[in-house]
Symmetry: C3
Subunit: 370 residues, 3 copies
Amino acid sequence: QHNQSTTDTTLYTPLIPVNRQSLLNNVDVLANMRVGFRNEFFDGTYKDSRFVNEQFRLEIKGKVSDKLYFRFRDRYTRNPETQSIDNLSRSTDLAFVRFDPNEQWKIYVGKLCADWGGYEFDANPIDIYEYSDIIEYADNFLTGAGVGYLPNKSNEFTFQILNSRTKTFRELYDTIPGITEAKFPFAAVLSWRGNFWEGKFQTIWSYSIFKDATHQYMNYFAFGNQLQLKRFRLQYDFKLSLENLDRKMLVTSWIPGHEAAQGVEYMSHWVSADLQISRIVHLAFTGMVDFAYWNGNPDPSPDKTKKLRTAWGYIPGVEVYPLKNVNLKVFGNMVGRVYRYSKYAQTALGQADYDTYRFTVGIVTPLLIL
Amino acid sequence: QHNQSTTDTTLYTPLIPVNRQSLLNNVDVLANMRVGFRNEFFDGTYKDSRFVNEQFRLEIKGKVSDKLYFRFRDRYTRNPETQSIDNLSRSTDLAFVRFDPNEQWKIYVGKLCADWGGYEFDANPIDIYEYSDIIEYADNFLTGAGVGYLPNKSNEFTFQILNSRTKTFRELYDTIPGITEAKFPFAAVLSWRGNFWEGKFQTIWSYSIFKDATHQYMNYFAFGNQLQLKRFRLQYDFKLSLENLDRKMLVTSWIPGHEAAQGVEYMSHWVSADLQISRIVHLAFTGMVDFAYWNGNPDPSPDKTKKLRTAWGYIPGVEVYPLKNVNLKVFGNMVGRVYRYSKYAQTALGQADYDTYRFTVGIVTPLLIL
Amino acid sequence: QHNQSTTDTTLYTPLIPVNRQSLLNNVDVLANMRVGFRNEFFDGTYKDSRFVNEQFRLEIKGKVSDKLYFRFRDRYTRNPETQSIDNLSRSTDLAFVRFDPNEQWKIYVGKLCADWGGYEFDANPIDIYEYSDIIEYADNFLTGAGVGYLPNKSNEFTFQILNSRTKTFRELYDTIPGITEAKFPFAAVLSWRGNFWEGKFQTIWSYSIFKDATHQYMNYFAFGNQLQLKRFRLQYDFKLSLENLDRKMLVTSWIPGHEAAQGVEYMSHWVSADLQISRIVHLAFTGMVDFAYWNGNPDPSPDKTKKLRTAWGYIPGVEVYPLKNVNLKVFGNMVGRVYRYSKYAQTALGQADYDTYRFTVGIVTPLLIL
């Protein structure tokens, strides 16, 4: 018996030591992909068709040691330019380590995702066919540090201190008369994730303050709420951004000469529903509306209105999960946008209403490749 | 007995679960490299010497799940610029998934290699020391979808629908009077791979049609043939490209002012021989000739000829495989090119004949690194 | 018994074959990171604060087969531009294979690190908070080939032949009257690593000659010395670079019009001390001084001096290793620089003295992620 046992041990001792096995087991390499065939329309007229790699982000993440986690994500759909403030490529979304001293605390350091609330923002980008304006024009992959605190299983609080941007003030705004660049242009982000009725109702709420220049702040609120039933999921986000300096550059882009606008406000409602007809077939609908206001418009005209644009979005679609063991969906959907400018924006700023929509069929997968 | 068996099981249960083991086993990470020391000559005069990373492409590929395959290849020898049409980096050759519903069918989606026939094109780029003009100036990594059909073990048919380019018409051609951009600039590629006499004779034939603009097509034919004997391999490709708009931009580059040429034709013969002197030493020879014609030349001159250039290529070399378990070859070769312009191209277009050759020693390996 | 043994074998045969297991075991994927929160001062005045990804380099390295090694390192903090001479991205530090025919010889081919001596240069870049001028402005990731020879356990000799740069002469210097570009602008690097008193004293010495243009050379000497006691490590480097053409471009940058300077000399002393207070806490200090001379200054003025600048550097700091199993340090330090120009550089070239310092807290880790 003894001999045989010894032989066995020799025979089956794995070549790969336990440490390495645990690394191989706990670290995932993913290809986050969305590829589709788009048919694009502008103001009701067919414009063009093309295949598009809507998303391609390679990701490496996992537990690299006891209590230590790593995450890196890099996209191949954006030019990799090293950024002047945080020194990392613009194509790199995430590059951080997380250390969990115990089950209640987490510490993050590196290039992070600002932990803004809202389910739209929190989703894997491959699952968002079109972002609302308030997210689309935001700068959210920022370098800094954060802590997470989980007092119990139902609540998680996160607090982050980040650079407020990856580029210098000058690169973003050039110079603005009367405004002095901040010495530490920071973002402070506080978020709360709640979990109620055994996960049936969840929340991701947050408040952030961004300092862009001396006395120039952006205050951002996001309230995401999710109802998750057995075969039905409903998400609703309310988001509001009050910007002393136009950070999204949307209002700015409508001003003749494109000088940076001051006193800008963006507000967004976003709703997403997912109904499981069966394991394989889901019906999905996303709807959104974004409002853009220019409260600080210096124009003395009595016709001036604060609201400049209302942008609607609607995305009805079907999603099919043909494979049992792989998270891969085949989708067919319509992404419609309706842009409506206020009378003032039309007459004084020369903007014109327009609509776009596109029909797309394609695939989405956060493919585990290693 | 029972107890001992139980103990054994506990002792040897691998940390890595079976799913993950199969991923680790079936997915390959490769570094496709060719590095060499080049001595370059122009018109018979020594010009310079330098070490060159002729190829460096990282690749991840393999079976990621039952019936599902993934392939990604990215080069570090080309600037990674996001392309305006397909939204992916120009440096990324391949980024696709393949699903095989059964043994006879394959479905591809993503950034693909246009499945053009010919053995030159089908080879791993690290094995082609110099491409013929017709391949060198082609755009072949395109986004789209494809199906493969294998009616039996001797035949495989592939059909692809792809974007015809990664850039917009304007970026490639600026504007051309009288020509309207196509709304869906597509490429349709049909190819056939045949396998005869137990693999001794093989073919890769293809026909493609590219639509670049309204009524403006490129028709491309490639007929690749391979004889594989025990110690000798012979490959011959015939390729022909009929282009309403000059897609290769070669003829265009010879026209003063470089306006896009219309009615262009490229034809190519390519032959490659590999003789195994022993397992370790191979003799290799590649020869090619490319003809460039401008059938649509509007010049009314009676001296006008359609053929503008004949470009010869010859690559004699020795390849040594020093390692038994690794596909790594040390090569020494000469890459010679002879460019001969027609009398018309010389007098009317101001082109002049020239020759180049280079002697290179180096290594080639599609190195499996993980 | 026989049956049971058979059963066992079947049961425990690993899915992953031995070859692959050895690859998975011997190849490391690393994220070389340094992230910190910097508070920057200029001439004693607080300038700004920001989080910076000071280093982020992904690396794959290891033994890929019997006697064959591979190493690849790519940074995400530098724009990936393909270089005109060696054809590889500027962001790629290393991309080479190493073959060890036996225990005494090593052969390297690919993009290498010039094997300059000195401990500052030999360190992982994440461990150098600020490089001395002589390294900071050098071009050291070059393509070529090398051999290593280990006559015994105490000595290693390396000889490399590399391209002298990754860009063309014109890209670096434009044209310089009277100077002809070299046909083979090479670098030859000879280095010696010595190991004495059971590793207590070690050396990395080197001599390199770079040919930049016909009759235009750079001669570079580096003498690195290390004393390693139980809880104390002391390193001292002396480095000297004699440059016919100003390769570091430092002196050049001080000349009005920035024409390339000729007859330039850089000299550097660098010292680094590390004291282990405990396993967890280290005290670290780095000091350096760089001298820049313009021996070839054509100015006939009698006030001319050869020495133009003295640049001091001092980096006192604390380093904490909180984790037992992971090489990760939390650091807090000050990086101070003092730049002093000679009277001649001030009056004739218009340069002015300045000081900078910064306080940083952050983390450093060559994190093993796969």
